[in-house]
Symmetry: C2
Subunit: 678 residues, 2 copies
Amino acid sequence: MTHVAVPLASGIVGLIFVGILVREVLSRDPGNEVMQRISLAIQEGARAFLKREYMYVSVLVVVVAGLIALAPTLSGNPDLPLGWKTSVAFILGAVVSALAGYIGMSIATRANARTTQAAADGGVKGALGVAVSAGAVMGMSVASMALLGLVLVYWLFQVPAIVNGYAMGASLVALFARSGGGLFTKGADMGADLVGKVEAGIPEDDPRNPAVIADNVGDNVGDVAGLGADLLESYVESIIASMALAVALVSGAAISEKLVLLPFNIAAAGIAASILGIIFVKVMGRKNPQAALMGGTYVAAGLTAVASFFIIRTMGTEFTIGSTTYGVLGPFYATLAGIVSGVIVGMVSEYFTSSKYRPVKNIAEASQTGAAITVTAGTAAGMGSTAVPVIALGISVIVAHHFAGMYGIAMAAFGMLATTGMVVAVDSYGPVADNAGGIAEMAGLPPEVRGVTDHLDTVGNTTAAIGKGFAIGSAAFAAIGLLSAYMVSAGITVADMSEPTVMAGLLVGGMLPFLFSSMLFGAVSKVAFKMIDEVRRQFREIPGLLEGKVMPDSATCVDISTRGAIAGMIKPGLMAILVPVAVGLYDPRALAGLLVGAGVTGVVLGIQTANSGGALDNAKKYIEEGHFGGKGSEAHKAAVVGDTVGDPLKDTVGPSINILIKLMSVISLVLAPLFIRG
Amino acid sequence: MTHVAVPLASGIVGLIFVGILVREVLSRDPGNEVMQRISLAIQEGARAFLKREYMYVSVLVVVVAGLIALAPTLSGNPDLPLGWKTSVAFILGAVVSALAGYIGMSIATRANARTTQAAADGGVKGALGVAVSAGAVMGMSVASMALLGLVLVYWLFQVPAIVNGYAMGASLVALFARSGGGLFTKGADMGADLVGKVEAGIPEDDPRNPAVIADNVGDNVGDVAGLGADLLESYVESIIASMALAVALVSGAAISEKLVLLPFNIAAAGIAASILGIIFVKVMGRKNPQAALMGGTYVAAGLTAVASFFIIRTMGTEFTIGSTTYGVLGPFYATLAGIVSGVIVGMVSEYFTSSKYRPVKNIAEASQTGAAITVTAGTAAGMGSTAVPVIALGISVIVAHHFAGMYGIAMAAFGMLATTGMVVAVDSYGPVADNAGGIAEMAGLPPEVRGVTDHLDTVGNTTAAIGKGFAIGSAAFAAIGLLSAYMVSAGITVADMSEPTVMAGLLVGGMLPFLFSSMLFGAVSKVAFKMIDEVRRQFREIPGLLEGKVMPDSATCVDISTRGAIAGMIKPGLMAILVPVAVGLYDPRALAGLLVGAGVTGVVLGIQTANSGGALDNAKKYIEEGHFGGKGSEAHKAAVVGDTVGDPLKDTVGPSINILIKLMSVISLVLAPLFIRG
């Protein structure tokens, strides 16, 4: 246990910090009765969704855990390195991810009205503090709990093959949190907008719209819980990938052990750095919120980079993989390569999705020619935005490998993720501010309050773009690390692309993200259709609703989103789980091809969908600021269509693809022993 | 020369058949003066575009040919297997492709008014004959000239490394024909529709619309010349890939020689079978056009399959690659696998794009909820449509390889392409019928005539879907064949995906089809914008135009499309040429990764864009038939937006991706000797 004393301590410190933040948030004024009632409705909706989601996931977790535990018996091979220990690790991973999501979301949904009230009382400065603290609860819960769980599993079992189960558990929960959350939020959002804004002509977040509460719930389940589970998964996977590769590839047990412990200790430093970063934001945010959020992110990243230099120099070692010897500082350079490419991916995302730059302005301009050209321009911008990030990732792969071999690639992933606490904090802050704006609108607070929350929301967008870059970039690296670990575990020494099974695997794998996206699109449309019908029905059948005399039946809308999201998750979820198992049993090298194919198109399609959606969203906002005719103009109508097309791209499909490629990789890694041919 | 006597004879017979068809088409009544004037305007427009396109391409051809000729001198390595012979082959490939395109398009643009007149005189039966003959001129020119040129080059030089240059020449012309044609046609189409139909409220193909002639020219340069060049390239490449692989991999020169000659002889049989298929269509078409077109395609494919069985059994041989020996009939089974998967790809395309089936009906239904949901549903349908074709391709790769090794994969590609004459004939028939309808409209002929041409157009859609399936499927196979040939030529024995350079190559390659598409989207929007401005200007400034008293200035619109298409081709074209060269010089294995990555995303994205576009197009037509409110309804407006989004997807981006992956592969193959490291 002494090896992991520092990470253990740091995880506990992280949780104490979470406790302090929770107290701080809950001590704030929750606003007047109307605000409290709205906030409560959002809390209840979010809780109802999580409850049902976790119910379904837990059935799946129990089934899968049982199969893993019985695998040695069922396969007739008692030496198979699966069994109850892997099951325990798997369950723990699932529980940690679910718990972190639950805590983060509970606080986020309690912070929304408090942020609104703070905006009313103290303007931007006061409101920023509440929203950042709420986001930080999610961020620090993710980082601390993930690390503590990992320390526990590692201390209990030591063997990478067993610890891998932990990542698989986290991954399974992440799939459902991300795609379920994405389906919930966009189904509600599209339904609310299409009937409310377009048909009934009432403003966004108007309390008369029955789907507005569901929309606000969606922000939390998608962008808070979903994002948290996503990054928690990448975080865990990059650590276990480096662990698995260090043990399998590096010569000498003592040296492997040292390399295994490096990411644990860097993670510990990352948690400390994230705490400092969050404090920085809260202190500096009183002057300049925008600069504070950016600054905090850079402070955390910079401190982690410096700390990892010293950690690697002190605790690291020269090591040999195959016939190549790498220097002590090799893993440090690999980590740096990861951080740099993560920042590049984020900056490119910002360029392509911010209304300050050409691409978004071009889309706004194109909107004058109608919706078709808007959508085409948005698609083109997203497609064009893939070039630099992918090249940056490609170069980092080469650089990281140059300095530290395959182990370096896993460390590059971890480089992006060490400050997960900070990244998730900044990202989760956005939905809290967004919700606060909704509450201001619904509670009929003065427009200045909405102005403050809108400002907070906009401020978060830039840092959120960087966060998204880290999420996609680290998913790609984590997938590559997991792939290498899988190949080692499955006994594949060479996966030659010109072999027909590998080639077929590549083709089919390359198709999977498209099929997966298609299923999610279908599911989100179904939810939206049902929501539209229900909203129309309420406007039609509830007397006095449109006049504002009666409250709408929000609970039914929440229920529609919940059921639709759960139902919509089943098909893509099963596909993500069963395809790698089936292909692996057919031929483990075909599975290697499949993972690579899925990784390649997944990364590209993930970046494209995220940036197309972001660009279309901000082009609409740019027009709403008064450009090209402003609100109500033909250009605006076209831009609204573009935004609606972009919504499921950026919030349902794009982020879910991340999980797809990671989940398939980690399942392959855990089950690799099953696939080895006698 | 005796070895290739049969293919030589068959190519000459094919050309004689072309001559007969040309005479037949030109002997028909060209219609009244108005019709002749319109037809002439289309001919002139098409000629002007081809002239300018060929001017630019010929500069590029001369430069590249010069570099290839001087490569041994410039690289300081006189033994480099490049030089003037490869240059000559390269130039010949370019000339053959350009010439076939020119002949096909000259006749297609002369057949349009004649088809209209035949429709007026004799209804469907008469018109079908003219349109099919015109399409067959393109189809048989492609097959016969490609084969004759190949026979010539093979007879002159014998060495595969030199013959490869022929494919590269064809590929370069194809890139410009396909993407230039696609830019021309969709720029004009979108411009004509957005101002004409949407703003001015005049019908499609109305003679008052200045962009209508350009739109009709576009059908010819995109769908006739572009498609012909595309399939000509695949045809040539699958033959040279099998040739290169037979020589490089198969043990024993005499045995290799036999395998080299197989595709030549199957091609000869394919030409004969295509002639019979075309005659079948012309004879049976008098009774049931739909059944005749399908029947002719199956007759040609079936005859070729039977003939190739006998050819392979008689002329083939057992052969050994590495340590595996394959049976005499191995290549036959590989060919069959190719044909079957081509048919599957085509049938799935039909299912997803025909208004007879669920997907298109669902999109039409979704249109009732607005344009955003229409576009989303269309995207989802296209994404979902990739699953079965890609799995079919994957299985065929494994099957073809099982029966005949890498050589078998090239033969599978050729299996789809042996009846290129027939496939192109059926595909080119569509635009002729489409043009005939436009002329009927513009010349103010009675609505029955338009009814006949519309019927012809619809009839061609099903067979066109199968043709598209063959184009995409064969491009994938050809690319795999070329990749294997490249790896052999570049001295790469194993391309291990877990190597960092290969991995980086895969990532970057996977991104290229997205970047390429983004460039084409940008270019097509630019052309459309300029077209919109010009059409608006003419409506505004030419007095009496909207009242139908004066003719519009169509020539300026043709000129805008021409300039826009040429300008828009330059960036993506240079990318397709320079990226493989740069990456190959950096590391030939990174280039292998790049080609595979581009192939994987290219195939998937190609299928998705083609089918999304087709489905959106037909959803609009389905509504226009009176469903969900019919023409003028809100659903129809939404569907028109969807169709406009789909247009560049299916006609500019989708088909160009085919060429991108083939061109990069063939350039890599030709230049492989340059990349080998000392």
